[in-house]
Subunit: 405 residues, 2 copies
């Protein structure tokens, strides 16, 4: 008998019928002899509806009140799922983030989990309850309700699995696992049976939306085994395991893309120490995650820095950059939204030369210009025109033979 | 500078436009130099929608999970109202029942407030915040979310006003105050400028829906001055004051009616001590409030007891009564929903003979049969056929000249 944490996303609980379906899956796991803790998101569409309501009373609602508002979505889901499980004659109890005591920092709308108190969870599990926890939300030491940002329910699930020492954290979604590229775009994609933590982390951060980046980070850090699978099928999904447990035969595992990118360039920076530090500290102070950073070679004692952030942060990031630009006497700031990122990810890449060149070649053959390049040990990313991204994904998928085993 | 508690019902916050309107009223009170604490209900329609969702996954949802679900409605309202007040450049903070620590007993869906912790409220008020509190909800000592039953936001407001020693508790509604009868039914009704606690209590419990009965009880018990007025008008409403502060010249103040009545009769009870105790203890154990109780004179050592409960409790009450009937060997139980209660209320009634007779006469002249009668010092109530109630309200309103000052 093990302990399994399951996470169901918003589409899985969007209607009463789907809630009942999830209840049956949860009960089946319980009947197989496991202890079960379930994390759920707000019913699909609810969060957007609440954001829309907020905007109607205040175009810039205070973050604290936004959290107060948004936290209701998950509370609706947990109550409904607990009711549906009771209907199947199994004991279940729903708990808010505050009731579990999922302690976070004070950064409203983007809070980070500091600690998960397992006492209430243990008590309810040992009473035989299926425990249903509201994803996406936590509470500060001062009793203030916080939310973890979009996709935060994944983070909740992994944090819970880590705190409880769960045997596996199952992430249920509306696709059957992680694919070699987005199935809506590229023909001939294959489901991946197994991935390393590093690979899922790079994929998450490069636009594959099956798992939230911070959740992947957390899973890697605390070594929480993940299983990404479909709510609507019994098939095995994609298992995420420690690197040493898997063969390293794959050079490139998948192509990912991300349209949610803003590119910002600050030009004519004085080429003196501390300039980059000043810019990126200012962004960090506003809790803006910077993705790619490229500094061009200096000319006449002046350098350019380009970087990317998620579109949601684009306007704020540009404003911060303009302030810094004035302070340090740079030539100016340029930013644009119409770009996209295309990446290849693979744990075997580091020991195989020529992988990046093949990527650039595939994009060039499509006649598409590469605006920025960044590389890590297991990923190469390029910024291109957003209008060309689908075509390039298909070309790169073909170039690396990802449609073949 | 005083401290004012305001309560806005669901219709007052049903749309973003209305939330903004409420925000302006609240800010005006603050600008007049008062400290302000606001209690809000769920946006109109939300609670019914949530109940409907619950029924779709479980026809008999567990009460604890129902509270988890329903408490989200008020949380949406407080967040939106706080945002709307921020938009007007005033400081405001929303608080859930749990954050205030509105401590209740453990009776889910019908909890009673045990204590309101004023520490957080005081802290936020002294920081200059308008404090916005979720009505209808509380928390048990074990951290479980509870709700206070329909109309529970009135109870929250009065409890808050009492805990804070507020100068007045303003109950905002969609009518301009308390009238001599339901304006939708009787022509020539008058708004009442002032009522005693006893009168509003009898009116609340006899079907005038301007104030929840338990809130009236609480206001009387803790001597909280109330002002019932309209969200949509600046006019003075109805003030509720201690009896000694008002002249006692009115014999009958108002006619009220209530269609939400189930009548239950248990026939052929053995006329021995303890029988009534057994029946009504069994009902109390199920948290069912019994309104009228009439025991007929015994015949052949057997008696009949008739009583009324609110229709929502009708079926459960009938079932409990049938169980007790079998246990004590009564002849049988009869219950029906199609009845209504018509009442006259007035603080001067007790010293004026013939008031009850005049009521019975007015009903008789309409050719309507009186099924049950019950009296208190300041109220006389009759149970009649529900189909006749509007006609009788008009007749009684005329008979007591309530259309004239």
């Amino acid at each position: 008998m093990g302990l399994i944490v399951q996470k169901y996303g918003g589409t899985s609980v969007a209607t009463p019928e789907r809630v009942k379906h999830v209840a049956r899956r949860v009960v089946a796991t319980k009947q197989a002899g496991h202890k079960v803790a379930v994390v759920v998101s707000a019913p699909g569409g609810t969060t957007d509806h609440l954001i829309d309501l907020a905007r109607q009373v205040n175009e810039r609602p205070p973050a604290r009140e936004m959290d107060m508002l948004l936290a209701t979505g998950e509370q609706v889901s947990i109550a409904l799922l607990a009711m549906a499980i009771h209907k199947l004659d199994h004991a279940a109890i729903s708990l808010t983030g505050a009731q579990v005591r999922i302690l976070t920092d004070k950064v409203h709308t983007k809070a980070r989990i500091l600690e998960v108190d397992r006492r209430r969870l243990d008590r309810e599990l040992s009473r035989g309850n299926i425990v249903i926890v509201a994803g996406f939300q936590g509470i500060t030491a001062e009793d203030e309700i916080t939310t973890l940002g979009r996709g935060g329910s994944d983070v909740t699930a992994v944090a819970l699995a880590s705190a409880l020492g769960a045997d596996v954290c199952e992430i249920y979604t509306d696709v059957e696992g992680v694919f070699t590229a987005d199935p809506r775009i590229a023909p001939g994609v294959r489901k991946l049976d197994v991935l390393s933590f590093d690979e899922i982390l790079e994929m998450a951060s490069s636009g594959a939306v099956v798992l939230q980046t911070r959740a992947a980070e957390y899973a890697k850090q605390y070594n929480v085994p993940l299983h990404i699978r479909s709510t609507f099928s019994e098939a095995e999904g994609t298992r995420i395991v420690e690197e040493r447990a898997m063969e390293k035969s794959r050079v490139v595992t998948a192509v990912t893309h991300d349209r949610d990118v803003t590119k910002i360039t600050i030009a004519g920076l004085p080429d003196v120490p501390g300039v980059a530090h000043r810019l990126f500290s200012a962004l960090a102070a506003r809790h803006i995650n910077v993705d790619m950073i490229i500094q061009s070679a200096s000319r006449d004692g002046k350098a350019d820095i380009s970087f990317t952030v998620s579109s949601a942060d684009g306007e704020t990031a540009a404003k911060v950059t303009e302030e810094v630009s004035r302070e340090i006497g740079a030539r100016g700031v340029h930013w644009e939204n119409g770009v996209a990122k295309i990446s290849i990810v693979g744990a075997g890449m580091v020991s195989n030369p020529g992988v990046a060149a093949k990527l650039f070649g595939a994009i060039a053959e499509e006649g598409v210009n590469i605006q920025l390049i960044s590389t890590s040990e297991i990923k190469v990313s390029c910024i291109i025109d957003a209008a060309e991204v689908e075509r390039c994904v298909r070309a790169v998928h073909r170039a690396f033979n990802l449609d073949r085993l």
